[in-house]
């Protein structure tokens, strides 16, 4: 007798058990510790925190492990957890001028107050596979740890004073548009309210900040290739630790909640000026949790491209299309909807099948009639 299979539940359980086994891999090898992931796969953890919109190194490392290194899956795990957390208020705006700077470069000035600080970067490395990493090294050699310590102390020195941002220096001369003043209002929260287009700049920046790195990279790249060209310069890119300050209403003063690491990119772009405004530089802004310069720069390029309307520029390029750019930049949404095509669709397919068969038989009849 024909019986519709009831194996679904059991099959799912078994598939999940198999997944757990595959995740663990060869059991003769030690399981990776979360501290190892956090310490050695730092940039993966950073990306998960940035696009997961949750600053928690330990949970992000757990997510990377649980997701078998699939970062979008890890981001998804973090998002699903984040959504259950209560909100007890908004922090004060981060003051990145007071950042404990670990890296800071400007492409617009050879030297500037605070100096150029290369910090940990892949830039200028030769991309040659380093086979010496294929060993369980415990400590780095004497000489390189000496260099690292030297670097650390130079960082400590640069912390003492506030490091002014390049855009602040340009701003003193009026060469760059002023950053919009803080109106003191509660910023829109895209995770707590539905977005409705057109959106304000804060909403746009929030959306981009959790947007997919690869997507923003491609869109940012497109602006460099003539689709909404904005003649960008990296005014400054800095990475380091910033204090998060919170003012509880019942206390009446600010409390330090701890520090977060962020990458900030201030892009300086050309602007021809208009009848009201003399020629001056404009800003594109990027801010990302952790060290992710690629994302911060892409974000700044796309953010600038989206400002075409207020700057009276010609529209038409993909990166300028707010609804298009913002509606599709979330990789958790995108991957879910793309991958939902794996779900059964046989009811709808049946309906289409029926129509195609009917239309084919009509077509055949018509052809026969035409031939007669």
């Amino acid at each position: 007798m024909y019986v519709a299979a009831k194996g679904g539940e059991k099959a799912i359980r078994n598939a999940h058990a198999l997944l757990a086994k595959r995740r663990r891999g060869n059991e003769n090898l030690p399981s990776i510790g979360l501290d190892q992931i956090a310490a050695q796969l730092t940039l993966a953890v950073d990306r998960v925190m940035a696009e997961g919109s949750l600053y928690d190194v330990e949970l992000a490392a757990l997510a990377v492990k649980q997701a078998r290194g699939d970062l979008i899956e890890a981001i998804f795990l973090i998002r699903a957890f984040r959504t259950t957390l209560p909100r007890f208020g908004s922090a004060q705006p981060l003051d990145t001028a007071r950042m404990l700077v670990r890296r800071r470069v400007s492409a617009t000035y050879k030297d500037l107050p605070g100096g150029q600080l290369l910090g940990p970067t892949f830039d200028y490395t030769h991309r040659l596979l380093d086979t010496s990493l294929d060993s369980s090294e415990i400590r780095s050699t004497e000489s390189s740890s000496g260099v690292a310590e030297g670097a650390a102390s130079s960082v400590a020195r640069s912390v003492a004073e506030i490091m002014p941002r390049v855009t602040d220096l340009l701003g003193e001369e009026g060469l760059i548009e002023a950053s919009p003043a803080d109106d003191g209002g509660e910023p829109f929260d895209i995770t707590r309210a539905p977005v409705s287009f057109p959106v304000d700049r804060a909403t746009r920046l929030q959306t981009l900040a959790r947007g997919d790195e690869g997507y923003l990279l491609a869109l940012g790249y497109s602006t460099q290739r003539g689709y909404a060209r904005s003649h960008p310069f990296v005014g400054e890119i800095r990475f380091g630790d910033v204090e998060v300050m919170f003012e509880a209403p019942e206390l009446g003063f600010e409390v330090n909640l701890g520090t977060v690491q962020v990458t900030e990119c201030q892009m300086v772009n050309q602007f021809k000026g208009s009848t009201e405004v003399p020629p001056q530089f404009t800003r594109g802004y990027g801010l990302v949790f952790g060290q992710c310069e690629r994302k911060a720069m892409s974000m700044a390029l796309v953010e600038r491209a989206l400002r075409w309307q207020e700057l009276g520029e010609e529209p038409g390029a993909p990166a300028q299309d707010e609804e298009f750019v913002l509606s599709h930049c979330d990789n958790v949404q995108a991957t879910g909807f793309v991958e939902h095509l794996k779900l059964p669709h046989y009811v709808d397919f049946q309906a289409e099948l029926d129509l195609v068969r009917r239309m084919r038989s009509e077509h055949e009849t018509e052809m026969k009639e035409a031939a007669e």
């Binding site: 007798m1 046989y346 068969r357 009917r358 239309m359």
Partner: protein, 332 residues
């Protein structure tokens, strides 16, 4: 590193504030039938596009005494239905059922149950794209205006062009409807066969689109009209043969491929309806066949747990082959 703190979740996963926000959106949706109410959809522990909207609506309306049924493609045992039902069993500890009659809340993807619904039931639809005009106009800013002005010419032109080009309205599922004489609404990707069931339905029908952050509703006993033309009235699919298992007619059937030589059979898409009829003694032409080899043996990793495929009998193919494909369409 320090030990991870234990993580605990609220009844039906969402916190009470979120559920309150969703209930407000639902109330507004009921007050303005067919209108898409924006709501602050949360990230859920299942992927977008896999029913997060329906899950949030269900979580918001579910009480401890509710009996929940979850179907996907009309079936209770498809993988995603199993996963969602398991989610609520775990997070809300509510009773679940596969019986349409016993359920108080039914979450569905792509079907309306064949068993008529009652006033004490809620049908929650999972919606991928809530905007019926989306494929005619991709911009939300534009479609919002079109709805505000009840400017649905675009949709009528599309349906007309279908007729001009194909001789038919080439929309077979997610067939647009007009609700309470005002808003044009996407009924979610149910086959148009199910559209007439939405009209004057005694149950409350709620629609949740998580990724697109929209909720809409059809209150009980509301007029729901499938768009059509006087000379091209709305028609639904009709199957030439009854269900091969329970002999039901006038129901939506799934086509099951039996072999690689064109053999196929048609069975009820609604598994509960089909099983109930068989228990009542109804027999289709293939229900008496003896169990035989599975046409598709489980393959590869993860197949140990039993194949997800239906397992029809391996009887003589020539009987089933080429039959019952299309019975044309009829007016509902």
């Amino acid at each position: 590193m320090s030990a991870m703190p234990a993580i605990t979740y609220n009844f039906a996963y969402l916190d009470e504030q979120t559920k309150r926000m969703i209930r407000r959106a639902i109330l507004k949706a009921i007050a303005v039938p067919g209108y898409q109410v924006p709501f602050a959809a949360r990230e859920m522990p299942m992927p977008y596009g896999w029913g997060t909207g329906g899950v949030q609506v269900t979580a918001a309306v579910l009480g401890r005494d509710d009996v929940l049924k979850v179907i996907d493609q009309g079936a209770d045992d498809t993988t995603n239905a199993v996963a969602i039902r398991g989610f609520f069993e775990k997070t809300a500890r509510v009773a679940t059922t596969t019986s349409t009659r016993e359920a108080t809340v039914i979450q569905t993807r792509h079907r309306v149950p064949e068993t008529p619904l009652r006033e004490d039931q809620i049908l929650v639809y999972q919606v991928p794209i809530p905007e019926p005009l989306r494929f005619l106009e991709p911009r939300e800013t534009e479609t919002r205006q079109l709805h505000a002005l009840a400017e649905y010419g675009l949709m009528h032109v599309k349906l007309y062009e279908d007729i001009a080009r194909h001789g038919h309205i080439a929309t077979t599922y997610a067939y647009p409807v007009e609700v309470a004489g005002r808003y044009v609404m996407d009924p979610s990707p149910i086959p148009k066969f199910d559209n007439p069931k939405m009209d004057d339905c005694p149950a409350l029908q709620l629609f949740g689109a998580g990724r697109e952050k929209r909720i809409y509703a059809i209150p009980p006993h509301t007029k729901v009209r499938s768009l059509d033309f006087e000379d091209h009235p709305f028609r639904v699919q009709r199957f030439a043969k009854p269900c091969a298992l329970c002999a039901a007619t006038g129901v939506y059937l799934d086509e099951v491929i039996l072999d690689d030589k064109g053999g196929r059979m048609f069975v009820c898409s609604d598994t509960d309806y089909c099983n109930t009829r068989q228990e009542e003694g109804h027999r289709g032409e293939m229900s008496g066949a003896s169990p035989s080899r599975q046409p598709f043996p489980p393959r590869g990793e993860g197949a140990e747990g039993g194949a997800l495929h239906l397992s029809p009998p391996g009887r003589d193919r020539s009987e089933a082959a080429g039959e019952g494909a299309s019975g044309g369409e009829v007016r509902p």
